[in-house]
């Protein structure tokens, strides 16, 4: 007779091992005979696939609402007409600060009257210029308020191209729908169109890591001892 302790030793040694496996198999076979075997796998797959579909297909549709811009603006046509590229309308003020989306007064300099045949222009002139109402543009690139970002430093000092962050928006003939994150209120363009976060172009995504990546590469600064990258307060003032 051996003690339970001895048995354990045997199992863990060699011959006992097979015995243990066999006994487990024995149990499986017995239950498979009457049990749900295939269904277990099937249900696993159903759950798995359903989750993936919900996560990759339905979730983004629920998370983001689709909003149309108040006026469908044609960037391409304007870039052709103006002389100074993006900065013709997206101006830097005299004090060096960046003005962002043009104010109505700026647009009205040219669009006091309807000039072309585009119905969108007509809407713009009648609904906004005539009424003196600012256009409530939805800004795709709006970042949270906790981030300090200076266009002047990036464009004027570092000589960066607008396209690097904003993409070829200047070539677009129509404004895409604004997809607003229902939870945070920010545009989908910040996270990027791709839910997986895969990015092909520098402008596909504009999260903190994307800023940090470029800062690390371009400035070479490692002002933070903790992260060995640019310090937090460079942007989070």
């Amino acid at each position: 007779m051996s003690t339970p302790d001895d048995k354990t030793k045997e199992v863990s040694a060699d011959a006992g091992g097979e015995e243990a496996v066999a006994s487990f198999e024995g149990v499986d076979e017995k239950e498979q005979g009457e049990g749900p075997g295939g269904f277990v796998i099937l249900f696993f797959i159903i759950g798995f696939v359903a989750s993936l579909i919900i996560g990759w297909v339905i979730f983004p549709k629920l998370l983001y609402s689709q909003k149309r811009q108040p006026v469908d603006f044609n960037h391409a046509i304007h870039v052709e007409t103006v002389g100074n590229g993006c900065e013709s309308c997206h101006i830097f003020r005299e004090d060096g600060s960046y003005a962002g989306v043009p104010k109505l007064a700026q647009c009205a300099d040219c669009h006091q009257e309807v000039q072309g045949e585009n119905p969108e222009e007509k809407i713009f002139v009648e609904e906004y210029v005539a009424k003196g109402k600012e256009v409530p543009w939805l800004v795709y690139s709006k970042q949270p308020d906790c981030v300090f970002f200076s266009h002047t430093v990036h464009v004027k000092l570092a000589g960066m191209d607008c396209v690097t962050c904003h993409g070829p928006i200047g070539e677009s003939t129509s404004l895409k729908p604004y997809e607003e994150n229902r939870l945070t209120g920010y545009s989908r363009d910040i996270w990027g169109k791709s839910m997986s976060g895969i990015k092909k172009n520098s402008w596909d995504r504009m999260k903190m890591d994307d800023c940090a990546e470029c800062h690390e590469k371009e400035t070479g600064r490692k002002s933070s001892v903790q992260t060995d990258k640019d310090a937090c307060f460079v942007c989070h003032k």
Binding site: P36, F43, I46, G47, F48, G55, S97, D145, L183
Partner: protein, 736 residues
Amino acid sequence: MKIDRRCFLSLGIGGAAGLALSPIPWKLADDSAIWTQMWPWTPVPADGETTYVKSACTLCPGGCGISVRKVDNRAVKIEGMEGHPVNDGGICLLGLSGLQLLYGPTRVKTPLKRAGERGEGKWVKITWEEAISEVAKKLGDLRENGESSSVACISGTDKGSVPTLFKRFLSVYGSPNFMRMPSVLDSYELALSLSFGFAAQQGFDLEKADFILSFGSGIIEGWGSPVRMIRAKSSWRESGGKTVQVEPRLSNTAAKSDKWIPINPGTEYALALGLAGVIITKSLYRNDFVKGSTSGFDKFAGLVLSAYTPDAVEKITGIKKETIEALAVNFARAAKPVAICGRGQGRAQGSLGELMAVQALNALVGNINKEGGIFAFPNPGYMAWPDYIADNIAAAGIKKERADGAGSGNFGYAKNLTNRFAETVKSGKAAVNVLFVLESNPLYSLSDTNTVKEAFKKIPFIVSFSSFMDETATNSDLILPNHVYLERYEDVYVATGLSKPVVSLSKPVVSPQFNTKHAGDALLLIAKKMGSPVADSFPWKSYGACLEEILGGKWGKLVKEGFWTDSASSAPVFKTSSGKFEFAGGFIDLAALFAPVNAEGDPKAYPLLLIPYDSMRIASGYIGDPPFAVKTVEDTVLKGKDALVEVNPATARAGGFSEGSYAILKTPKGSAKVKVHLFDGIMPGLVAMPRGLGHTAYDNYLAGKGINVNELIGTVEDPASGLDAAWGIRANLIKA
């Protein structure tokens, strides 16, 4: 095969595995992090173009230039204007908090007419047309009945075009009753007209002075023009100028002085006369000036040498005679000594004798009309008003006796005795049917609030031009809300002791936020509505047009630079009959001029003395403390809603009080529950309380906090001038 529990477990596991490989957990974690860091309900200021608008602050009489930073159409910060002759970039706590008055909840947003009982807070919104018509009709009826002189106006100031416009209106309409809120400026103006011989404001070249003897003036607590004075105080530190503070309480000014001399409250005049006596005895006065440019010296010397010897002054003031003698010598031997008075911020008028005594000190050391000394500036002449047309009713009306008695009888010298107004109206001596209230809050700020309330009950129609729901507006019948200073044009004449006259221009920084109207425009509309002959003297289309016309050539400079200074106005002149500085100011009995002012109340029933004090952290004028400023008030002054009074530990011990214990503070005028704060820096037998608390109106940040000291203090009429000479009141602290 059958579906059992395991299948569902498996479904769940599969679902979980799929979930882990989907973006849901990672994306939601990220989004909720952003969400919690940027709560959507937290206001984020909108970005926009930054601009600056140069304007002037009118929240106190200091007249600082301000530069307001705007982001698009929103004012976001008030800063001091660089290069402005008053404050050169500096700004005080109240000035900084001005935006809370512009955007805060206490604004009156549209003309209001009382619906319920007075003070009940029931209002109906009316249009401007209705409001103007109602006032014009009431005024028209009174004028027809020959009661034009029963219309009165209380204004925060009488300088500048808007008060002048109101005064002009009353003159054309037929009433002499334009009054401004009392302050030490009344006493200074009166003293100047007696000793210099013309209507003037006093200027102090304090920055260049080297010995400043202050009889209780809160040099760094809001006296004069607050920012300028704080700067001046710093400049003495560098230039070696000495300051001596004579005051019963260790105020911040006293604490920062080179010497603090505690004095029995209300006896400052005696100290000034005692110092004069020592200076005369020791022949330390500037003989050339006294001989050549003053009159009445012998008479003055006779009085101080007989009645105000150092021994006698020691008995009155409680200051050792050695201290008095040393102070007199130091003062007289300084190169550019200046003596100033006006307790605290100069909110109270004080007795004429006190002012004349202090002025005599300045005359003895000969620092009048010269660098580092004092000046008298003639009343501002920068506005050129066209003559008005007074018909018979107007001519008769303005000759009638004023409701406050100023300018007639015993008070022939006085221009404003607004302190007497409440009493005469309450007692029925003066009948007032309509009262205009402009940029002031008499129901809160005048001493003896209960009497003022009684008087207001006797006035059938009160029109407030206040921008805010202050105590007076709350108790009026009609509110015609003015734009606040950041929404309007207005000239700001600085009458508070600068070394040269300065006029600033208040400009609209933002467009009016509500359905308000410039008080000047409202008045012009009332005049127009009344028709000829009143309207004939008000030909302007708007207040703006009026201002531009009366400023003439200065308008352009004011708009461009924001201020205008008159450097040519300080010619040394005396226009008295003798052509010299008058020590006695025409008084035959000098002893009557320099009579002691006793506090109201029976010393047996009220063994202590209550004195009010001023603080830079508590706005005590027309403007109540905005929330930013309330936050800075120390918890030894205001704890929760409780007011704390300063009491010397010895006095507190005798009464059985310890730090923080509740007490009933009782004076002949009223009583209030207060907390006791033990303070070694106050003389025994005194109780000190700040001005500016105990509002019942304004917003929840201010209303109901502390006690309004004006409710506890009455007026003491100065027999020589009619001014309110009260510096405190007898009081008692009873265990609560």
